[in-house]
Symmetry: C2
Amino acid sequence: MNIEIASRQLEALGNPTRLTLYRTLVRAGRGGLPVGHVQERLDMPASTLSHHLKRLVAAGLVRQERAGTSLICHAEYPAMDALLGFLTDECCADECCAEEGRNRGDA
Amino acid sequence: MNIEIASRQLEALGNPTRLTLYRTLVRAGRGGLPVGHVQERLDMPASTLSHHLKRLVAAGLVRQERAGTSLICHAEYPAMDALLGFLTDECCADECCAEEGRNRGDA
DNA sequence: AGGCTATTTCCATGAACATCGAAATAGCCT
DNA sequence: AGGCTATTTCGATGTTCATGGAAATAGCCT
């Protein structure tokens, strides 16, 4: 993980439509969801959805798997974990945070 | 926390310059860092830095405190925690994730 | 092959973003 | 007030993004 990848992933999530889309996939769990199903659920034009989905895939946050004419979309949980870890990673590293109220591990 | 706020915060972090800036503040810990200090450390024009900082403040991820002519910037840790929580929040909610490999609480 | 469904790519348009120099402001100190 | 430092706002420019209709592609099925 590095700044380039992390910022690209955060940017991908930093749009209401895409964040909603991503959360829909996160909620869907490991089974994933076909594109068409997502489209119905979120009620948006197919081309718009496809663009956003492409961004999420390019960022490595979503994986797609073909199943006949449908494409199943899955949230890439490990990627999300890595991203979350990166954000809290070196918290207070320049200060050596020793107080209990605010550490990176808990909460 | 809601989609609007979360996506705004993620968007704020979704830029390499701003993410670097934010991480610098996260590393700095509760003591914070004056704008000028950040500027020297990241070596960027003051106006550019100011714009990015404003975005982070507007997103609620950074707090600023005046100290004489300097402005001390702090990472808002609670906001980060809330955001991170939001991302993993309803993981698999539509599927009832019961397997051990992938839950929202751990890791 | 022909038809059908699912999804993507092409294209265009308006909006928002990133960057940074120059000028303006805020706050101290004498 | 005058001068000094720290930081922000203004203004301008080029870039990227968001959106969605229309056309193209992918993959099945008969």
